[in-house]
């Protein structure tokens, strides 16, 4: 197993760091999966993380100037590592002004992702800073837990309102209730609702637009087959999970979408130029 990557472009380094920092706000530990073409940050939905799952996919080519990896075997040319994204984020944040940053899989007292950077100094000599981020290698027999999530058979797919506004509303609603109902229809309408003994609040977004999955959808179960576009699909979620997702977002995505499986799951998709992030929040009973 070998991995060695090098980033020399300052914008790429910056962007990569921001992605890792976003991931660190979503979860304390996750799986980093390395393949010849991609890096994935994965959180599989378990009871211990409240059933939330996450899949973040990066095209290695858009970040790394040099990228070499050798997986577990030629047949299974991947590496899966359990890592704390906060540790990786911290290491990366200290080397933002580096001329180049190398990330390697190493073995120190345990397996590590070593972040080594050449930093400029006032004199002509540069200094090398090394961070060893401990990781745990995940054996191949557990890899099936970290497969790419299947696009759920959603009832509604809709573009999200501006994330900043969404975050403001969710932040206030969190002060009032633990649970939030997200409902939306194929007519570009989305409502966020909370209800307690003391107060009920509902926020109505219009003209959001619906992603054109319907046109490409397969014959059975595509959303365009569902009939009345006014029909609302809804899911009740733990408001803190939605807030956690929104707090982490550092960059405005080029596309932000929400798929709802009625009373089952809320599937959030953020697309940037070279990163895609999917986040699944299960509905509460």
């Amino acid at each position: 197993m070998k991995f060695r990557g090098k980033i020399i472009d300052v914008a790429c380094l910056n962007h990569f760091t921001r992605v890792v920092t976003t991931i660190s706000k979503l979860t304390k530990t996750c799986v980093l999966r390395l393949t010849p073409d991609n890096l994935f940050f994965i959180l599989s939905g378990k009871v211990t993380n409240g059933g939330v799952s996450m899949w973040c996919e990066l095209l290695q080519n858009n970040f790394f100037d040099e990228y070499q990896m050798e997986g577990v075997s030629s047949e299974f040319n991947q590496i899966c590592l359990e890592v704390s994204p906060e540790n990786l984020s911290r290491a990366l944040r200290t080397v933002q002004c580096a001329k180049s940053v190398k990330i390697k899989l190493t073995k120190k007292h345990c397996a590590c992702l070593t972040v080594a950077a050449e930093l400029p100094t006032l004199s002509s000599a540069s200094r090398v800073v090394t961070h060893d981020v401990p990781v745990e290698v995940i054996p191949r027999r557990l890899w099936q837990e970290f497969k790419e999530p299947v696009m759920p058979d959603f009832d509604v797919s809709i573009y999200l309102p501006p994330l900043k506004m969404l975050k403001n509303v969710v932040d206030r609603m969190k002060n009032l209730s633990n649970f939030l109902v997200i409902e939306a229809n194929m007519n570009g309408e989305m409502n966020l609702k909370i209800q307690t003994d003391l107060v009920s609040v509902s926020t109505h977004f219009k003209d959001l637009g619906n992603p054109p999955w319907g046109e490409d959808a397969s014959q059975d179960g595509g959303p365009s087959q569902r009939g009345d576009p006014e029909l609302l699909a809804e899911a009740t979620v733990d408001i803190r999970k939605l807030q956690q997702f929104l707090v982490g977002q550092q960059v405005n995505p080029s596309k932000a979408m929400c798929n709802i499986v009625h009373q089952n799951v809320v599937h959030l998709i953020l697309l940037h130029e070279d990163v895609s992030l999917q986040y699944f929040i299960p509905a509460v009973a």
Binding site: M165, R172, F205
Partner: protein, 279 residues
């Protein structure tokens, strides 16, 4: 604007309807009196009065005159209800506490009467939020029987002079002592905390002193915990009047200008701390 297209039949049933183009005109002033969860709303033809009380010896009132509102319609002579103020503020600020430049949140408040919730319609950038907040039986607000004819001492100061003192108040002091006198030290704020005693003196000739009418020397102590919340009102005000009556009851009146330059008032009443005798 979507808010003004509520059906006519709804309006007929509401005893109070109030519209504001900028919800901050209400939320900012309510923040200045938020020290307890519950507030009493009293609406009359003059406008809205919101009252918060603490320990039966402190009362904060915010006055928002009817002409601040773009519409203020009352079906009864007086409408009174009690509501959770922190919930109300979360609703008024649903689109975020700090709006982007040039963006304001429009507000419409409707109340159908006893037993009904207070309904708020808030709109920003085409997005509408509807809130229904439960109301409850209003408690009778305390009447401090503070009369202008019984005022012993009165000063009016520019708020900026007091802001520094109030922000630095030694909170380890259980009381804030206010001395007002026709002679030195004229107007003094004192604290007695763990690190020692501190005094803030304001001379009657100071530029900051807009009015000075002190008839006899009075020293009164007030519980720090009751007066500290008044710092929020001070922070948004331009002038403050400080008055004490013969019993040592304190009246603080703050002149507040909102975003549109309109004037509102906030008033704090506080009873003196019983343990200390008057000087």
């Amino acid at each position: 604007m979507p808010l003004s297209t509520q059906s006519q039949s709804e309006d007929v049933q509401d005893v109070l309807v109030a519209n504001l183009d900028n919800a901050r005109s209400l939320s900012n002033i309510l923040k200045a009196i938020t020290c307890k969860d519950h507030a009493i709303f009293t609406a009359t033809a003059n406008g809205l009065k919101v009252t918060v009380e603490d320990c039966k010896c402190m009362q904060a009132n915010a006055f928002i005159q009817a002409d601040i509102f773009q519409e203020f319609t009352l079906k009864d002579d007086i409408v009174v209800f009690q509501i959770n103020l922190t919930v109300l503020l979360d609703c008024l600020n649903i689109f975020g506490g700090t709006p982007a430049a040039g963006v304001s949140t429009a507000l419409r408040m409707c109340y159908r009467g006893y037993g009904y919730p207070l309904t708020l319609f808030l709109e920003e950038g085409g997005v509408v939020t509807v809130c229904k907040i439960n109301t409850s039986e209003p408690e009778e607000p305390i009447d401090f029987e503070f009369s202008s004819s019984n005022v012993t001492n009165k000063v009016i100061l520019l708020s900026e002079s007091l802001k520094e003192a109030f922000s630095e108040l030694d909170l380890t002091s259980e009381v804030l002592e206010i001395t007002m006198s026709p002679s030195q030290p004229y107007f003094r704020l004192s604290t007695f905390g763990n690190s020692g005693n501190a005094h803030y003196d304001y001379s009657k000739d100071s530029d900051m002193m807009e009015l000075f009418q002190c008839n006899r020397t009075q020293t009164n102590r007030y519980k720090m915990s009751l007066l500290k919340p008044s710092t929020k009102a001070l922070a948004i005000s331009c002038k403050v009047s400080v008055r004490t009556d013969s019993r040592g009851v304190l009246s603080l009146q703050y002149l507040v200008r909102n975003d549109d330059g309109q004037i509102c008032f906030v008033e704090y009443f506080c009873c003196p701390d019983e343990e200390v005798e008057e000087g």
